[in-house]
Symmetry: C2
Subunit: 169 residues, 2 copies
Amino acid sequence: MQVESTFERARALKYPEQIVIAIARDPAGKYNPITLGWVTQTSHEPPMFAISIGNTRYSLGVIRAAKEFVLAWPSEHQKDETLFFGTKSGREVDKLAEAGTPTQPARAIDGVLLRDAVANLECRLVSELQTGDHVIFVGQVVAAHVNRRPLNRLYTVGENYQFEGLPRR
Amino acid sequence: MQVESTFERARALKYPEQIVIAIARDPAGKYNPITLGWVTQTSHEPPMFAISIGNTRYSLGVIRAAKEFVLAWPSEHQKDETLFFGTKSGREVDKLAEAGTPTQPARAIDGVLLRDAVANLECRLVSELQTGDHVIFVGQVVAAHVNRRPLNRLYTVGENYQFEGLPRR
């Protein structure tokens, strides 16, 4: 039985929610990561993903200018940097350097992969759509990478940045 | 350490993936549900969600014509109908009737809620974007409903429609 509620009360039931880290090269040449919970695949052929980025975020202009980005799926061992990348701004900080996060060069785009992530997808920006206080960027996957080791993806499992790894079958 | 792979191999690591059921009134007056794994919130204020629907799906034209839809979050007890709504077409079947799924009327739009879901969001279609073999529909939430009982959301936890409820914190 359903009872009408505020949107906020319904939204609190959404968890677990997946997490990705989008990384793009900023105009100064720094690779800037941002943690995002709002992401979905949106095409099989060609493979495409949609990410939603807040109007005020530094990454918005960075990705728009770079026209390409890496989507990394953080592992259950990357809680600290996932929180750091989501709560600090690349306007003030070199987040990858400050967190000491190991990276590898991307292959098809000017970007970096997160070495310890579950997987990394190299994407070319193909379109964007303004949606309220966020912009959807659609990226086409042009290269994919997986970790040598089997790892569980990291998820937000509750309010206030509760992160936890969840197993797949 | 990352090693380059096919997209398919990387994609197999994406689970768990959330599930929603989008329901819209078709031109004949039938409320037609479709199960989707490709969905994300995309605005806080106003609250908006993006869903991605295949170019060939019956629901594509249905939602485009109705200009409104309900997004239900199925619970861990709704595995059978979640599979049924995702693998049958509303072109041939009255899915809600055939599955015997209990519904309630929506309040703000011409739609129905899934009575036994974790939550239901009533959405008005505000824009769309073609992305490869799927179309993104963006809906603004105009009413929200939650189940009286606390329930776990249903997730796809592995290939071939492995569904499982996952707890939140």
